[in-house]
Amino acid sequence: MGVRSFETMDGNEAVASVAYRLNEVIAIYPITPASPMGEWSDSWSHEGKPNIWGTVPLVVEMQSEAGAAGTVHGALQTGSLATTFTASQGLLLMIPNMYKIAGELNPTVFHVATRSVATHALSIFCDHSDVMATRAAGFAQLCSASVQEAMDFALIAQAATLETRVPFLHFFDGFRTSHEISKLEVLSDDDLRSMIDDNLIIEHRERALSPDHPVIRGTAENPDVFFQSRERANPFYINCRDVTQSVMEKFSEIAGRSYRLFEYHGAPDAESVIMIMGSGSEVVHEAVDYLNEHGGKVGLVKVRLYRPFDKKRFIESLPSSTHGVAVLDRTKEPGGPGDPLYLDSVAAIHEGVVNGWGNLKETPKIVGGRYGLSSKEFTPAMVKSIFDNLSNEKTKNHFTIGIKDDLTKTSIDHDPEFSTESDHVYRALFYGLGSDGTVGANKNSIKIIGKNTSYQIQGYFVYDSRKAGAVTISHLRVGPNPIHSSYLIDKANFLGCHQSVFLERYDMLKHLVSEGTFLLNTPHDANNIWDQLPLSVQEQIIGKKLKFYIIDAYKIARKSGLGRRINTVMQVCFFAISQILPKDKAIQEIRKTISETYGKQGDEIVNMNLLAIDNTLDNLFEVKVPDTADGAIEVPPAVSEQAPRFVREVLGKMIAGNGDELPVSAVPPDGTFPTGTAKWEKRNLALDIPVWEPEICIQCGKCTVACPHAVIRIKTYEPNYLDSAPETFKSIEARDEVWKGLKYTIQVSPEDCTGCGICVDVCPARSKTETRIKALNMLPQPPMRYEESKNWDFFLSIPETDRTNLHITSIRQQQVQQPLFEFSSACAGCGETPYIKLISQLFGDRLIVANGTGCSSIYGGNLPTTTPWAKNNEGRGPAWSNSLFEDNAEFGLGFRLSIDKQREFASQLIKKLSSSIGENLVDEILTAKQKNEVEIYEQRKRVSALKNKLKGIRSSDGRLLLSVADMLVKKSVWVMGGDGWAYDIGFGGVDHIIASGKDINILVLDTEVYSSTGGQMSKATPRGAIAKFASAGKNTPKKDLGLIAMTYGNVYVASVAMGARDKHTLRAFLEAESYDGPSLIIAYSHCIAHGINMTTAMRNQKAAVDSGQWLLYRFNPERTAEGENPLHLDSHSPKIPVEKYLYMENRFKMLLKTRPTDARRLFSQIREDVKSRWSLYDYLASREFKAEKNIQSDR
C-alpha cells in the first residue's frame, strides 16, 4: 500500500477527498452543511486534480437538488461513476430520483451530512429526519460516526455499491462530524485502487445506455408485472448485507480499521445495551468505557448499515447477558408507534426470538428514546441516565433525553454534573467575534498540534445564526488517546475570551475547571483590569482559583497592520500559556503556518502576521488576582424589564444563551411567534454611530432610505412636543413646505445601530466651512450610548407623521413613514434590507410576505431575534412566513388565492346582509378603489363600521362575515427571496405565478450569488465574476429574468438599484404594488460575497448603473393600453467604462490575480455584453406602440 499520511481535516473534506477520487461526474447544489463537499470537488476539478483513474471529474452545479439527482441518474444510466452531496430538504428533493436510481440498480453513493428537515421552523443543524425520510427509497444506508469513519465509509460504500448494484446513501452527522476537525489517517490512492474492482466498473459501463448496444429502461408497467418486478430485486438487497460486511473486512486488511454492520462495544457480560447510530455512538462509547471502568455492565451497538437492516447480525451482536436495550433515534415520527430504529429493533428482536438467532438468554426489554434533534447536545451524562432508566424497574419507554418535557412528560432527567472527561485530555474554549478571526486561528492551532505531536485532536466550532456581530465559540480537545467526545466542552482547562464585552453577556467562566486558565483580550492593563470585570466574573476567578492573563490584542493587531483581526495574536497567547507544545516550537510552527497560509497572498501579508507574533509575547501579562471580589459592575439582563413576558422569559433566555433550559411548554406548538421583538435585544454592536448635524442637513432622507437596519429615522412634529424632550435631543425647523411650522428630527438608535456607516457615505450635505464634516458623521458610541438611548426613547414617543398627507413619490417625505422591518440580524451594511424596509414603510400595515429560504428568511425570522417584522401603533404590520426554498412563489400565490377567495366570500355575504348592514355602507365598501393610502384608510374605516354592525348580527352569515370582513381592505401580497430562489430553484414557480395574472408582487433581492450558503454561483451571477463553482470566473452571461418576464406582456417588471437612484426604486415599488396583476422587481443588492467595502457599497450600485452593467427600467403594461411603449429605460447609456465598476469588486478583480488570461478575455466579453444589452433595451424602449385597450382582459 502507498504511504498514508496523518492530516487534520473536517468530515466534509474527508468524504469529498474519497468521493472525488472515485467518481467521474459530480452534480451538486449548495445546502448547509453539505456545501463544502461540493466546493472542495469544484476546487479540485478546476485545479485539474485527477481521480484514481487519472481523469479529472466533471463537477456541475445544478438548479436544485432535484436537478442534481436527475443529472446523477442520467450519468449513471450512461455508464459513468457519479455522485452527489446533500442534506435535509435537498435530500428530500432527490427522493423521486432515488427511487428510480435504486429501482434500476444503479451503483452510486450519495453522501449526506445529515440535517433536520424543516417543520414548524427551519434548522440547519443535525438530526436524522432527512435520512429517515428516504429509508423506503431502496438505497442502502451506511452511517459513519466520526471524521475518520466518514472517510473510510465513503470508500466502503463505493466498493459495496459497485459489487451489489444497490445504491448507497452514506451519511454522517451534519456539523458534529461534517465540520469537526480531527486528525485522521488519509486513505491513499493505492488504498482506493485496492478496494475498487475495475471489472465491476466495466460491468457498469456494459449495462449503460448506448446506441451501440441499445436497450430501453424506464418503461411503464401494468398490474400484471409491476409487483413481481419489485420483488425481482430482492436478491440484490439480501446479498448487500454480506457483501458490505465482506467489503468492511477487506478494508480492514488494507487499512487496519475494522468495522461491522452492527458493532458491539462494551462489557462482554453487559446487561444494558444502547443501540444508536451516528456521532452519538461516540458519546455512548466514551460513557460505556467510563461506566464499565467504574463497575458497570453496559454496552453499545453501533449501527453502521441501517438499510438493508440485517436483523440476524443485529441480534448476534448483542451479548447473551443482555437484559435491556435502549434504542436511540435522532428523529421524530409524529404519531407513529415509535421512531424508526426502535421499531426496526423491536421487529428484529421479535423475529430473532422466534427464529432462535443469536445467544440471548432471555428476551430483553426494549425501549426507544429520542435525542439530539437539531444538534441538541447529547452527553455522557445523558447516556448514564438512559442506562439508569433501563435498569429501573419502571423503565420509561418512548422517552426523550436532553430536554425537559413538562407537557407530555416524555423526558428523563440527567445529572449535568456527571462527566466522563479524562484528565489526560486538554480542553480549551474560545469566545470570539466572527470578524476577529478566532475560528481561523483555532483551526490553525489544532492543525499545528495535530501535525507536530502524536496527540489526537478535536476542533469543533459553534457559530451564531445572526450575521452582524456574530459570536463564535471554539471547542478544542487534545489528548494522547482517541477522542470520542462528540459533545461540547463544559469543563475547560483553558478559556479565551477574545471580546471583553462578552463577559457582560455570557456566563462563560462556569465552563472552566478549578485552577483553570482564563485569557482575556482587553484594552485595560494588568493594574486596572480587575475593576473593569463584572462582580460575578471576579467571584468565579477567585472561587475557582483561576490563572488570569490579559492581552490588548487589538492594539497589537493594529500596530502590526492586521486591523481588527486578532487571530494571530490570540493564537500566540494560547500556545504561550498552555504549553501544549514547547513555546519556541509552537512559535516556530505558527510562523511556518503563517507562511504556508498567507505566502500565496504576498510577503506583506506574511510579514504583518509575523510582526504580530513578536509584538504579542511582550504584551501578554498575568494578572495578580486579589483575595476579594468587589466589582461594581453587574451583568445586565439579556432584555429590558419593560419587554413583554414572552420576550423576557422565552426569547430572553435564548438571547442569554440559555435556551436549552426552556421546557417544552414554554415554546409555541406550531412555530408561531409574535412580531416586533427584535427591538428588545440591544446588541450594542457599533463602535461608532452616526451623529446628526441639523444645521448642515438638507433633509433629503437619503440616510434613512439607505439604512439597512432601520436605526436612523425621521419624524416631523408639532414644536410643543419638545417641551418634554431630553436635554441633548436635536431638532430643527422642517424645510419642506408641507411641514411648514413643524419641527424635524433625525434620530439614531445607538444600541441597535451596527455602525455600518452607509448613512454617512450617502449623505450629500457637507459643512460650508469644513467639507470633511457632513450632516451625519461617525463618532464613538460608548460615550453617547446613555444620552442617545434616552433621545431614541423620546423620539419613539413622538406620534408618527400622518401618512395620508405625504407626497409619497418624494423620498424626503416618504421616509417619515414608520419602518415595520427593524433591527434585523443581517450583515452590517446589507444590500437587501433597505428594499425590504421600504416595502414595510409603504405597505406594512396591509402586507403579507412569503419569504423564500435564504439570507432574508434568516435575518427576517431567526431565533432568538425574532422578529424584525414589526407592528405600528394600531397593532397592524406585516405578517410573514417562510415555507421552503423552492416553493416560495407558489406559497405566495396560495396567500393571494386565499385572500381573494375570502374577499369574494365576504363580498357575497355583505351583499346578502346588505339590508341589515345598510345599503350605502355596503355599496361604498364594494366599490372602493383602494388605489392609494387615503382610499385604503377610508375603506378601513368603513370595514370597521361594518364589523361594529356585525357584532349585533348573530346569524351564521353575520358571524362568518365578521371572520372575513378584514379581507375587504386591500392586502398587499409580496413574495420575496434571493436570486438563488428566483433564477434557479424557484424559477418554475416564479414563472408560473407571473403567468397566473394574479395581483402578486415579487421582489428578487439579487445579490447575483447564493449569499446565505457562502457565495455559490447562481444563474444571476454575471459573466466574469468569481464564485464558488465558478472559480475560473463565470463563463456565461447573467440570465435576463426581467426580459423573460416582459415577454408575457401583462407583467409589471422593474429593475432597480437603490444606490444608483433611490427615487426610481421608490417609484417602481409604488407602481408594482398599484398594478393590478403580477409584478416583478429585480433589486440589485450588494453583498459581502461581492468582496466590497460595505460602507461605500451604494457607490458600487451607482457604478454598476453608470457603467451599464445594471440597467434601471420599468415595464408597465398599463402604458400599453394608453398607446405608449410599456418599457421605460430609466438609466442613461453607459458613461463610465465597465472595468471601473469591475475593479471595485473582488469577485471580478480576483480573477486578474488567479487567471489573468481568462480575466482579460472575460472582461472583454463583459464590455460586449454591456453594449449589446444596452442596445437591445434601447431598441425595445424606443419602439412605437399603438393603444391596445384589451390588454387588461388577458388577466
Binding site: 485545479e47 466572527g434 463564535t472 504576498g602 467639507t771 457562502g1014 480576483m1150
Partner: protein, 332 residues
C-alpha cells in the same frame, strides 16, 4: 532622410517613443505602435503601491466575515495560487518582446526601496531592453528636509542600478530646488538617461459633491516648455541621454525637443486624442519640414538649440523672463 537616434545605448530608427501609459496594456497596440513608426515603447508602469495595496485588499476580502456563520464559512473559492506579484507585467514584457522587434522599455513606478530591486531583476530576466524608473515621491510631511527627499531618489537609483545590467532611465520631477544639480547627481549615481519630466498627480474638486477627485488630464502643447527649457540647459553638461516628455503633440514639437538636445521624444496624450497611427502623421510632417529646411538627419539638429549651442544662451536665463514680462501684451 535619416531619422535615427540613439538612446540608452540602443540605436533607434526614429525619435518617436510612446511613453508609459495604458495604451501599451494591449499587445495589439504595441504592434500598432511599431507599425506606425515608433522606434521603441515604454510600457505602462508597474506601480509598487498598487501591487502591495492589491495584496492587502485581496487578503481583506478573502478573510472578511470568514468563519463567522455556520452556513457561510467563506465567500470565495480559494485557489492554490495567486498572481499577486508582478507576474502579469513580466508576462506582458515577454509577449511584447515576441510581438515586436523594437526595444521594450519597462517602467517601474514607486517611492521606496522596498520591492524595487526584486522587480527590476525580474524585469531584466523577462527580456526588457531597459528600465525607466519613475520615482514618484510626493512629500507632504512638513518636517521632511529637501536633501532627504533628494537622497531617496539617489538611493533608489543606485540600488536598482547595482542589481541589473540593462540601462536605466530616470524619470524625474521638475520640483527640485536645483534640477541641474540633481541631474548631475543622477548622472553620478549611474543613470543612463534622464526623462524630463514626470507629471505629478494633481487632483480636482467636484463642486457639487465637495469632494476631491483624482482627475488625470491629458497634456497640452504648452506643457512642452518646461522640459524644453531644462533639456536645453542640461544638454552637453551632463553625459546622460535626455528624453523629452510632456506636451509633444506635433512634428514641430518633436523638432524643438530634438534641437534643444533630447535624444528621443515621448508621445502619450496625442496618441490618446488622435490614435496611435498619429505617430506616422508626425513623422511625415517632420520629414517634410526637414526636407524643406534641408536637414539630412536628426543627428544634425540634435542639441543645436541647446543653451550651449544657441546663439543667445541668456535666452534661457532669468533676464529673459523679465524681458518676457515687460513686453507681454495681452490679446484682447
Amino acid at each position: 532622410m535619416d531619422l535615427s537616434t540613439t538612446y540608452l545605448g540602443m540605436n533607434l530608427r526614429s525619435p518617436f517613443v510612446p511613453s508609459a501609459c495604458p495604451l501599451s496594456e494591449e499587445i495589439d497596440n504595441i504592434r500598432l505602435m511599431e507599425d506606425s513608426g515608433a522606434s521603441a515603447v515604454v510600457l505602462y508602469s508597474l506601480f509598487e503601491e498598487q501591487l502591495i495595496l492589491e495584496r492587502y485588499e485581496l487578503h481583506h476580502h478573502l478573510t472578511y466575515h470568514s468563519d463567522s456563520f455556520a452556513e457561510a464559512l467563506s465567500f470565495f473559492p480559494e485557489p492554490s495560487e495567486f498572481h499577486v506579484g508582478p507576474e502579469g507585467y513580466l508576462d506582458h514584457i515577454r509577449k511584447a518582446k515576441s510581438a515586436v522587434d523594437i526595444p521594450i522599455i519597462a517602467s517601474l513606478n514607486g517611492h521606496t526601496i522596498g520591492g524595487w530591486i526584486d522587480y527590476a531583476q525580474k524585469i531584466e530576466q523577462a527580456g526588457a531592453d531597459a528600465i525607466e524608473l519613475n520615482i514618484y515621491h510626493l512629500p507632504t510631511d512638513l518636517d521632511q528636509r529637501s536633501e532627504d527627499v533628494e537622497q531617496i531618489y539617489v538611493d533608489i537609483l543606485k540600488a536598482v542600478k547595482s542589481e541589473v545590467k540593462i540601462p536605466i532611465a530616470l524619470k524625474l520631477s521638475p520640483f527640485f530646488s536645483n534640477v541641474s544639480y540633481m541631474a548631475k547627481r543622477f548622472e553620478q549615481a549611474g543613470a543612463d538617461a534622464l526623462v524630463l519630466f514626470n507629471r505629478f498627480y494633481q487632483p480636482d474638486i467636484d463642486l457639487e459633491a465637495l469632494e476631491i477627485h483624482p482627475n488625470i488630464i491629458l497634456s497640452t502643447p504648452h506643457a512642452l516648455r518646461l522640459p524644453l527649457t531644462w533639456i536645453a540647459i542640461l544638454y552637453g553638461r551632463v553625459k546622460t541621454d535626455l528624453a523629452a516628455t510632456s506636451g509633444i503633440h506635433t512634428a514641430p514639437d518633436v523638432l524643438k525637443m530634438l534641437m534643444v538636445g533630447a535624444k528621443i521624444t515621448m508621445l502619450c496624450s496625442v496618441l490618446f486624442q488622435h490614435g496611435i497611427e498619429q505617430i506616422r502623421m508626425i513623422e511625415k510632417e517632420m520629414l517634410i519640414w526637414m526636407e524643406e529646411h534641408e536637414y539630412e538627419s536628426v543627428k544634425q539638429m540634435h542639441g543645436s538649440m541647446s543653451q550651449i549651442n544657441c546663439e543667445d544662451p541668456s535666452a534661457f536665463e532669468r533676464s529673459q523672463y523679465m524681458r518676457g514680462l515687460l513686453t507681454y501684451m495681452p490679446t484682447v
